[in-house]
């Protein structure tokens, strides 16, 4: 029995460990009381419409885009700024799915518990001084430049469309505008009925995918440079029209481009050249390169999921495969994806992931992260030279060295005006921007997209866009 008595000490030690665990829990609970009571998951906290107390939304230069005063939400005093930033900031409702005030609505406020552990939230109401719980706003600082936003809104004019500009070295989104837009301070009464506002809730830069037209030639070119040896030395006679798979493939206005190589073909946007390339590469390789460059899956940044870009040629005929190589057939692309492809070319083959939330409350999110590689560095360098040559044929302001590619995307066979695209990037240390712009059904084609981007970039070079982000 003596032995059993001494052996039972082991179980006694287990019991002491149990008591030690209880002490640990008590200490843990008392140390974390303020934090845990104030958790947004705590259902004991008062309910409120969070925007009433939400923090400020501030652009990179300290311009306040939205703030709450006396439990009311106010947006920037300038109407154009309000409209230009609508799709980033959001409105009082949750109509704009990708806006900060939708995605981060609950993070824009937080609670502060002023009581202590002794009574927790358990004091009876008449003994409670009612100040136990404070609601405090969390400010959000963006990488967005509201001045460039305004310039972009102006450049888009009356067209529906989108502009997306981001720093391909850091990932900061400088400008993201979508039209049509409206004023969140004075939401138009006819927003649901007036055609003018059709699709106004959509941030087209992220959530819309369009036929990319000739801008897709960057993807086809990247695939060709990677897969076909000596492609840069091979040349071809363009007669303006050709037959592939028994059906015609034509260049713009059937204009023959003559004897051209890959660089010239990209600069002159020769459809037949790239159509032949995509047929030569075949469905599997085209699909594989397109998917490497972001097609067929969404992009996620800052907790926002974009629409998918689409490249599906499984059921395509040879002629349709040919057309897919120039961004027609059923190919679709989002402006953000397009800008990221340009960023990959600029950045040696691997894009930096875009982001627009610099900090939220006490948390600084400012992190530059690399996306998945889209192409080899040698391929990217070759494409960069080709895109610089291509851009030199456009009517661009000479402030920057620009690399780019335009596109005119046919949207139907019955003569509807095509969408105008321009994507590319700046070879600039101060403004390392990759961009994309789309003007839906622009009257004068892609030259309008070039002109619009020209204006926006001019404002970026003269405006605050060149300033470093706030610390």
């Amino acid at each position: 029995m003596k032995k059993i008595g001494s052996r039972s000490v082991m179980i006694l030690i287990l019991t002491l460990a149990f008591f030690a665990g209880l002490v640990y829990h008590t200490v843990n609970l008392t140390l974390h009381t303020k934090e845990w009571v104030a958790s947004p998951m705590n259902r004991h906290l008062p309910e409120h419409d969070q925007l009433e107390y939400a923090g400020k939304i501030i652009d990179r230069n300290g311009v306040i885009l939205a703030q709450s005063i006396n439990e009311k939400r106010y947006y920037n005093e300038d109407e154009e700024t309000r409209m230009a930033c609508l799709h980033i900031v959001g409105d009082n409702s949750v109509n704009i799915a990708t806006a900060i005030q939708t995605v981060y609505r609950s993070s824009l406020t937080s609670f502060e518990f002023n009581g202590d552990f002794l009574f927790g939230l358990g004091l009876p109401t008449m003994m409670d001084n009612k100040n136990e719980i404070d609601i405090i706003g969390n400010d959000v600082t963006l990488t967005i430049d509201s001045r460039i936003q305004k310039a972009a809104l102006k450049a888009l004019g009356s067209y529906k469309g989108a502009v997306f500009i981001y720093n391909y070295k850091t990932g900061e989104i400088i400008c993201m505008v979508s039209t049509p837009t409206y004023d969140p301070q004075n939401v138009p009464y006819d927003i649901e009925t007036n055609d003018k506002y059709d699709g106004a809730y959509l941030n087209r830069a992220l959530s819309a995918s369009y036929p990319p037209g000739s801008t897709f030639k960057i993807v086809t070119a990247a695939a060709a440079v990677s897969e076909i040896p000596d492609i840069s030395k091979s040349a071809f006679d363009c007669r303006g029209t050709d037959t592939i798979g028994g059906k015609p493939v034509t260049c713009f206005q059937h204009t023959p481009h003559g004897h051209i190589d890959l660089t010239e073909a990209l600069a002159k946007s020769c459809n037949i050249f790239f159509a032949k390339l995509s047929v030569a590469l075949g469905k599997d390789k085209m699909t594989s390169y397109a998917e490497q460059m972001g097609f067929n899956h969404d992009i996620t940044f800052d907790g926002i999921v974009t629409a998918d870009s689409v490249y599906k040629v499984d059921d395509a005929s040879e002629n349709e495969l040919a057309w897919s190589g120039v961004g027609q057939y059923t190919v679709l692309e989002t402006p953000v994806n397009m800008a990221m492809i340009s960023a990959a070319v600029a950045n040696g083959g691997t894009p930096v992931m875009p982001y627009f939330i610099q900090s939220m409350g006490p948390i600084t999110k400012n992190t530059t992260t690399l996306g998945t590689p889209m192409m080899e560095k040698s391929v990217a360098d070759q494409l960069r030279d080709m895109m610089e040559y291509t851009a030199s044929t456009y009517n661009l302001n000479d402030t920057f060295r620009v690399c780019g590619k335009t596109g005119t995307a046919e949207i139907s066979d019955n003569g509807d005006v095509a969408h105008a695209w321009f994507t590319g990037f700046l070879l600039s240390e101060d403004c390392p921007y990759a961009f994309s712009i789309i003007l839906e059904q622009a009257e004068n084609g892609s030259s309008e997209a070039v002109e619009a981007m020209n204006q926006i970039l001019a404002s970026a070079s003269t405006g605050a866009g060149a300033e470093p982000a706030l610390p």
């Binding site: 029995m1 032995k3 059993i4 149990f18 705590n42 009574f119 927790g120």
Partner: protein, 563 residues
């Protein structure tokens, strides 16, 4: 709610932990004070060397080794020579494989042999004479107990009145906060059970103490009232389970009253337990991720809860093989089969409880650290193997240690328990005022958090401390119990209750992974309630006072020694 009502409820909230504290202090003080002091039951006199050996326990090892209860410094005595036992029929000596044998009155004996006052016992070259201790032995027992345990009815009824007050306080507080009297019938029925059981215990069974039962009733009653305020129908089931538990408790104490009977039934219990688990595997229902339920009509039973009692039976019933280590094999096989079946049922919590209880029993029986370390090594290897082949099991525990990262997934229950406990503070938000009640398994797995939120951390901690107190009490009585069986059973039953409470409480508080075991006496669950009372009976049985009223002792040799 009126201000006056709210104020009363607030005062009740402050009073609850105070009441509970008084009850706990009174109970444990009574449990301590009623204990017999360590006086010799008999003495062995070495008349040649004029040395007197006091015999302190009901079971005593006799040998040369220092750890023996009766240590004889004679090199001709084996290290573990014999065992001196006291049974209902009197005193016995059993040779435990000594080299030179045991002689009683110069006749070599084998097996269990009765000895009487004046007998000469020869071990090695030492001859010991069995004598009464200073006072006549058959009254020693009664005298030692009687002065410290007078008719306890008065002090114990005071404790019971306090428990009744506590139940009333909780019920009224709940009624004020919820605006419903739904817990009143439960409180009434519970109070009837409380006093009825007490009367039965004192009057019919003439038990001298009721404190252990009072503490368990306080926990069960609090659990039932909390349950009744959230789900009155469920709480009726729990009341029925409490009644069955109490009947089971009384039966168990009667059943294990005679150690020889336990030994006889051991193999049957062994077989029934294995069959029961096998049956669960075959026809068991999967409820909430573990296939450990058997449905009998409208009643669902968790056999694994009852197998815990079988584990202690099988493990602890060593009787006078106090020193032999050989008979561990059958027990290891039993534990192995059970743990294997728990894994097949995905009931990892119970598997862990079994393993730890096995370690406790194995160590208590053999005192061998090597066995324990070997078993732990084998278990670690087993777990690694299982996780390699079935990695999804690990996913169930992925949130452990970082529940806030999985706040909306695997860590949801713990995070809510944290938030709610913090909101409740030391005195709670008031019964039914909590939010944890809406989280899944709030009244079984998360009950510690639920009590912490609604009744405050102090109350929750005190209830946990009561379970720890059971263990400390079990250890306190273990060396004074009538047989090694009772000592080992009490310590391991206490250890099992504490370990299960630890798994439950530390599961909610993210110190250990959340395994979904119940908190003894407090969690909702009929099988668990009955099994906990069953386990408590081992602790009660270890206290020699439990059986003190039925002790016909024969110390003088019968007229006819062969009878």
């Amino acid at each position: 709610m009126s201000n006056i009502g709210e104020m009363i409820a607030f005062v009740f909230r402050l009073a609850t932990p105070l009441l509970m504290l008084i009850i706990i202090i009174l109970c444990f003080r009574a449990l301590r004070s009623g204990r017999r002091e360590e006086h010799a039951l008999i003495v062995l006199d070495d008349e040649l060397n004029n040395v007197r050996y006091p015999v302190l326990f009901w079971e005593n090892t006799l040998g040369r080794s220092k750890g023996s209860d009766i240590c004889i410094p004679d090199i001709t005595v084996s290290r573990d020579h014999a065992v001196l036992l006291r049974r209902e029929a009197g005193w016995f000596i059993t040779d435990t494989g000594s080299k030179s044998g045991v002689y009683v009155n110069n006749r070599k004996v084998s097996g269990r042999h009765p000895i009487f006052v004046g007998d000469k016992i020869t071990v090695g070259t030492t001859t010991l004479t069995l004598n009464r201790a200073d006072a006549p032995l058959d009254t020693t027992q009664r005298r030692k107990i009687k002065p410290v345990s007078p008719p306890k009815a008065s002090s114990c009824s005071a404790i019971l009145s306090l428990i009744t007050t506590l139940i009333i306080v909780l019920t009224v507080e709940g009624a004020i906060y919820s605006g419903s009297m739904q817990a009143f019938p439960h409180a009434l029925i519970f109070t009837a059970i409380l006093w009825g059981f007490y009367q039965f215990s004192v009057k019919k069974l003439s038990r001298k103490s009721f404190e252990l039962e009072a503490l368990a009733l306080m926990l069960s009653g609090t659990g039932i009232i909390v349950n009744a305020l959230h789900d009155p129908k469920q709480a009726y089931t729990q009341l029925v389970a409490l009644c069955i538990g109490i009947v089971f408790y009384c039966f168990m104490i009667w059943f294990i009253g005679i150690p020889d009977r336990v030994m006889k039934w051991r193999i049957i219990i062994y077989g029934v337990a294995v069959l029961l688990l096998g049956l669960t595997l075959l026809i068991g229902k999967n409820i909430n991720g573990a296939k450990n339920w058997i449905l009998i009509g409208p009643v669902s039973v968790q056999p694994s809860e009852f197998v815990k009692i079988a584990l202690i039976f099988v493990g602890a019933s060593t009787l006078d093989h106090l020193q032999t280590k050989k008979n561990l094999f059958g027990f290891i096989l039993f534990v192995g089969i059970c743990i294997g079946m728990f894994f097949l049922m995905s009931d990892f919590g119970t598997a862990l409880i079994f393993f730890v209880t096995f370690l406790a029993i194995a160590f208590m029986r053999s005192g061998n650290f090597k066995t324990v370390i070997l078993a732990i090594a084998a278990a670690v290897l087993g777990v690694v193997l299982i996780l390699t082949f079935k990695p999804y099991i690990a996913e169930r525990f992925q949130a452990w240690g970082h529940v806030w990262e999985y706040a909306n997934a695997a860590g949801y229950q713990q995070v809510n328990a944290f938030i709610c406990s913090a909101s409740g503070g030391a005195f709670g938000l008031g019964l039914t005022k909590g939010f944890l009640q809406y989280v899944f398994a709030s009244e079984s797995d998360l009950v510690f958090g639920l009590i912490s939120e609604e009744m405050g951390l102090i109350t929750a901690l005190m209830m946990a401390a009561v379970i720890g107190g059971f263990m400390i009490y079990a250890r306190g009585v273990s060396t004074r119990s009538r047989s090694a069986f009772y000592s080992i059973a009490a310590c391991t039953a206490g250890g099992l209750l504490v370990f299960q409470a630890a798994l439950n409480i530390f599961g909610v508080t993210d110190i250990l992974p959340l395994t979904g075991v119940t908190l003894p006496f407090l969690s909702y669950g009929g099988s668990s309630m009955i099994a906990c009372w069953g386990l408590l009976s081992f602790i009660k049985a270890a206290d020699e006072r439990t059986y003190s009223q039925v002790k016909p002792k024969k110390l003088t040799p019968p007229k006819n020694p062969s009878a």
